[in-house]
Subunit: 447 residues, 2 copies
């Protein structure tokens, strides 16, 4: 399926002009986050796989071309759109890596029309997936020993976002998802219990629990708060005994004071000899609740994390940009107030443990022992390697998080590691700026 | 394409149990928002069209059934999933209408397995589309005479959300969208200018402006802030004169103090005899900026509203619920702390102008002159009427907004109109609650 029209009109306008003029010199665009949201000390790179699939398939189909005709693009431009494919190179930060403000997550080098046409889709996927992956990582960090399950699908911004949330929360270390299609598509563990409606559909809670345990053996988590939570726990205990269940049983708390209820529930279960029954909590929870559960030592084994993670409610977007940094072998930048960009293709060098990253031009050597974050992923329009796996991304993220200073991990007032611009990149920036501002006034914009 | 697995696992668990037990009595579920976000005085209903398409197509395809087998559902249950279709009735509030907390946006009545299986998708679409439509309506209200264009696609939560934002912002009264696929799909007006990269790709700003105006006549909005905004305006004036342009030209301001720059820009354009050239503004704007533009009398003709509208950054989700309210002709409710629901199928009655809505059981007569918000839309699994149009939804919203008290429209500290529960519904609630709580203790939960 073509997604070439899933773009902003101005991309088509500009590409049409470039193609018409045969301006096919290579352009490098850099995709980065200008500034971190104030409550974020790091970001998690995500969305690259979707971008690479898109780039490999990029083309206009016949219906799209026909529509562009009706939208007023002249026949000569339509014929040029017809043959456009993405033939460029991409360097990118693999999914699951920690990134910071001003560090490119992705750089595209291609004939300028191609590089321009793909802007909107690349920005869309990297922006929202990285925002959501970051939120999921914060939840995972806060939860300590507690297992986390993605429960977000019902309130994500559409089902496409729901799939991405399941995937990026798996990268963050969630152990399962309620999202069945995501489980199928990405090989995740599907997880689910029962709703209050199930309990209400039977004459009594006890009848509901008995029926569910009999019909769905091995999936038995009793939702105990439909009428009265602790009575619900007692009913669950009765049913476990009556049916002689001896494994894979949980009770789910979905309302009220979850820490206190978990303690009371654990006590009742233990007193009944059911210390193996797990306690699952849910209900509008986020990383701050998870931290509270961890610090209180509440006997909660697993938590379903939903809406607030699935929309990243406290930072639902990132201030991303996709900026032309080089055209026809000439570095370029813009000087717009508050939005000055750094010219040239770049590399990010990371030392361990992470204290500050070094931002350089792409070809500069890095410091001894430092690792380059951007790696080649597409050459001449084709992927260089096999599609990445969720497992590999999860391992990268776990390693990078271990490597971050505690100050970056703080949930409320984090301090991100610094990003230092190399001397060479600083000189290139100053040189490029001077070439654009013929006056001798000191520049009034800071980077 | 089947979307039956785009759901939470628990829906499949519960439905499997109901189907297995042949529990096919009708169930009514009510989809509503528990509480408004604190900064919202009203909500705009949206997402119904997507729900109706989904319900009409609902089925499990062979690949999905095969996967469910591997996921451990027994063969008997798989065979029952194979034949499930949505055969029920739906009452809903049409898109574009103002709704308030506790008012059903949609009620499904169907055999309980069917009504349960569709929960997740219906919640997903209604929740995010209504959240985004509400944000777009706030922007439209704040902007006064200024035309608004949707610029959100690059930072929405995926491209599905991007399409919905274009559509619901059109319902809110936006005049165009940058999203080309949405323009094609929904018959909207595509809108777009140029990016900074276009200006940077030429030796000078002047050369870029000349080229663009020649290659894309009739689409000429010059982005003037790449290097120095007011110099950019002067360059645009020169190019307009040199090419003898006499209509359909604009300049776009994308950074800096937009009110001051718009005034200076207007002055220069007018002094050059170009009072017909329009001023377009953009750059991280929301309803508060739009209100400021309006109140300042800034000479801004149109604004591109992007990310903050497209993710509803200050209220990215709604606290929606999909609750069983009647099963087998018996009203039901839950008593969970803080989440008590009202039993029975319902109707919402609205008087004009809107001061308070009346929430009743579905069959109660409404007050004289009041209008019912919920209308039948699906009967026996089939749509009753033709698909709704964006124009019709836009008209409904404009009428309802005119009808709202000023206190509900305040951007910062709105007060929503009240929702009053009818005596009959209050009695039904009390009766149902008593049947569930055999003690004589006074109920300790408020609605």
């Amino acid at each position: 399926m073509s997604r070439a029209l899933v773009t902003d009109l101005y991309e088509l306008n500009m590409a049409a002009s470039y193609l018409h003029r045969e301006m096919d010199a290579p352009a490098t665009f850099s995709l980065f986050v200008r500034d971190l949201p104030s409550n974020r000390g790091f970001l998690v790179s995500a969305g690259l796989e979707a971008c690479l699939e898109y780039l490999e398939e990029f083309h206009f189909d016949d219906d799209e071309l026909a529509w562009l005709r009706t939208a007023g693009f002249p026949e000569g431009m339509i014929r040029q759109f017809e043959t456009v494919r993405f033939t460029g190179d991409v360097h990118a930060v693999p999914e699951g890596r920690i990134v910071l403000a001003k560090e490119p997550l992705l750089e595209v080098t291609a004939p300028i029309a191609e590089a321009q046409l793909v802007e909107t889709y690349l920005l869309n996927q990297i922006t929202y997936q990285s925002a959501l992956a970051t939120k999921a990582a914060r939840c995972r960090l806060a939860a300590g020993h507690i297992d986390l399950v993605d429960f977000a699908l019902r309130r994500t911004h559409g089902t496409e976002a729901g799939m991405a949330v399941a995937r990026v929360s798996a990268i963050a270390g969630f152990v399962g998802t309620s999202n069945v299609e995501a489980a199928r598509r990405y090989g995740l563990t599907p997880a689910g219990t029962m709703a209050h409606s199930y309990v209400e559909a039977f004459g009594t809670e006890r009848e509901a629990f008995l029926t569910f345990a009999q019909d769905l053996p091995g999936r038995t988590t009793f939702l105990v708060d439909t009428y009265d939570t602790l009575k619900g726990v007692d009913t669950a205990i009765d049913v476990v005994r009556e049916l002689g269940l001896s494994e894979d049983v949980g009770v789910r708390l979905d309302s009220g004071d979850l820490v206190a209820l978990a303690r009371d529930t654990r006590e009742r279960l233990d007193a009944a000899g059911l210390s193996w029954v797990r306690i699952f909590a849910s209900g509008g929870l986020d990383e701050h609740d998870l931290e509270r559960f961890r610090l209180s030592g509440a006997p909660i084994d697993a938590v379903g994390v939903g809406t607030r993670m699935g929309v990243s409610d406290d930072a639902p977007f990132l201030d991303t940009a996709y900026k032309l940094v080089e055209f026809d072998f000439r570095p370029v930048m813009k000087l717009s107030t508050g939005k000055v960009s750094l010219p040239g293709a770049k590399q990010v060098w990371r030392s361990h443990p992470i204290s500050s990253d070094l931002l350089t031009t792409r070809d500069e050597p890095g410091p001894a022992g430092a690792e380059p974050l951007l790696v080649p992923v597409v050459r001449g329009g084709k992927r260089i390697s096999e599609p990445d796996t969720i497992d590999a991304a999860r391992e990268r993220l776990a390693r990078d998080l271990d490597d971050l200073p505690q100050s970056a991990l703080d949930l409320r007032r984090p301090t991100a590691p610094s990003v230092v611009v190399s001397d060479h990149l600083a000189r290139l920036t100053e040189h490029t700026r001077r070439a654009l501002t013929p006056t001798s006034d000191p520049p009034d914009q800071s980077l």
